[in-house]
Symmetry: C2
Subunit: 329 residues, 2 copies
């Protein structure tokens, strides 16, 4: 377990009387919990995501980490005003409460293929949190990041916009007519799993072949192009930037695929701005942005003219602010 205090140099002004808020980030690799109040970030703890045992161990881990983060912050859990949870999905609702059906957490979804040490078909989450805290808000991490970008980042003042993370996977948060889209089970924004071309050579964690995530996500790049000498996305993109023609052609093809997904999003939702973040994108954003924009150029002008495609305003820290955006008044 790691815990550390970091300066809260956010573009955020916290109310002077802000009661403690708990921010929970659940990913396939780690769970991070932080406590924020009027004085800023008070504590932060994280652990590898619990996936061994019964399907409520993840929620137990979250509750334990909240207790620890509160203890480090010298705050009683009863003082917590609200708990915001930004988590990987998708979700199912059981009696109206969110459980996770995330392929990176639930071993029962994709058989033994993912090597997970459990056979869960879902992971309990919202019910135990609501039993412990009065105010709880659980959202897909794409939706939470969208909220953060709308409040403090590149999507401020935008009524029709999307946040897209190009990272280990491809996630999205969507906002139309000034309202974020949740959908039937809070799963709106899973457009990383849409089908935009015929290339079915790559398998996605969701079980489909050839969806956008299977073709361009960070983990896909590592799998698809290692044989050509590019161990991961960073290596591939660096080679392209350095003038490697093979790498450049691959990157162009990746941008064409993700660009088609961005075009589809704009044709479907009539957006004003799309902000892109995520670890795969961020370090090579200057190289990638014009290539993504080119994939939309000239297509269906009433839907793409005046559409901005920009880098996330919160940069690499979108994730830090995502859960906070869910609960900060």
């Amino acid at each position: 377990m790691s815990n550390y205090h970091v300066p809260f140099s956010a573009p955020i002004r916290l109310p002077a009387e802000q009661a403690p808020l708990v921010c929970v980030d659940i990913g396939g690799t780690k769970v991070a919990v932080s406590v924020v109040d009027a004085r800023g970030l008070r504590s932060r703890v994280s652990e590898p995501t619990a996936t061994e045992g019964a399907n409520h161990v993840l929620a137990q881990q979250v509750l334990r980490l909240i207790d620890q983060a509160c203890a480090f912050a010298d705050i009683a859990p009863t003082e917590v005003a609200a708990v915001g949870v930004a988590t990987c999905g998708p979700f199912v609702l059981r009696q109206g409460l969110i459980e996770l059906v995330a392929p990176n957490i639930c071993g029962g979804l994709a058989g033994q293929a993912r090597g997970l040490p459990n056979d869960w078909t879902s992971a309990v989450l919202e019910a135990p949190l609501r039993a412990a805290f009065a105010q709880v808000r659980v959202e897909n991490d794409g939706i939470a990041a969208l909220e953060a970008e709308r409040r403090w980042g590149a999507l401020q003042g935008c009524s029709d916009c999307a946040y897209v993370t190009w990272s280990t996977g491809i996630g999205m948060g969507l906002c139309v007519d000034g309202r974020l889209l949740r959908g039937r089970n809070g799963n709106a924004g899973h457009a990383g799993h849409t089908l935009v071309c015929d290339d079915s050579s790559a398998l996605c964690g969701c079980g489909q072949r050839g969806d956008v995530e299977a073709l361009v996500a960070g983990n896909a790049i590592a799998r698809r192009f290692a044989a050509q000498g590019y161990a991961d996305a960073a290596q591939l993109f660096s080679a392209a930037v350095a003038g490697d023609a093979t790498a450049a052609a691959i990157v162009d093809s990746l941008c064409a695929v993700l660009g088609r997904a961005l075009f589809n999003l704009s044709a479907t939702l009539d957006l004003q701005r799309i902000a892109i973040g995520g670890s795969v994108f961020w370090h090579h954003r200057d190289y990638l942005l014009p290539r993504l924009r080119a994939a939309l150029a000239g297509r269906l002008p009433p839907l793409t003219q005046g559409l901005d495609i920009v880098a996330a305003g919160l940069g690499e820290r979108v994730g830090d602010f995502a859960a906070l955006a869910l609960v900060l008044p």
Copy 2:
């Protein structure tokens, strides 16, 4: 010009005191205007869509048809409570008011390719209507049809749903979290122009090659398969139903393409139900529905399990009710 009175045998109960409402349907081929009040449908007039002259002739035509329809109904235009306009798009906003940039109306968009007798880059619409009537609501015809299906058709009670028209073109209306999606310029739902596969053999009216509409819309089917002996969609589908293996294979491929678009819609928006209407679909819906559903089967289960794909509840009459749904209180 045709005008006729038809019985208003709609699944609609009009308020006993309902003041006259004007319903306008604008398509690439014809403009229809009807007047409805407490007694039902009072009059209906239609003409071929005006496309010769300056770019305000369409709006002038609409205003003239409204006058005629009111005269037939023996109602003064000043008695009209509201004007609802369901129209083909896309839209641009000029000083906040809708103008049409529809490829089937504006000859200046696609060059001479469409054979239109004008060089308009947009057609004025909302401004002259608002100058003449106090209450005006203009929406994309997909959005209007969605409203009608939500009020009287197969989407009643659905908070997360879409209406898809499979007709001369492919149009959609979208609703998420109980609110219909309009987007930056009211163009949300143009997912008929999304890219879902690599087939770029067909040209769309929007200028793109290989979008969904270019591949499966009614006018596309006529162009693509005439050489194989299928003059139009009706002939192709009838042949498939009758056991023609070539026709059946073509129809399967069309359903696979449209099915991918429906899957993309559900992955993006987390929908509960999709209702399909439109002239191309309607007469062969029993043959087409299972093939469309099959295209989604097993994909990303949390987003597709429990998703209904059904025929439009208002059947071939969706269009008749679309504009009315925009203005009936």
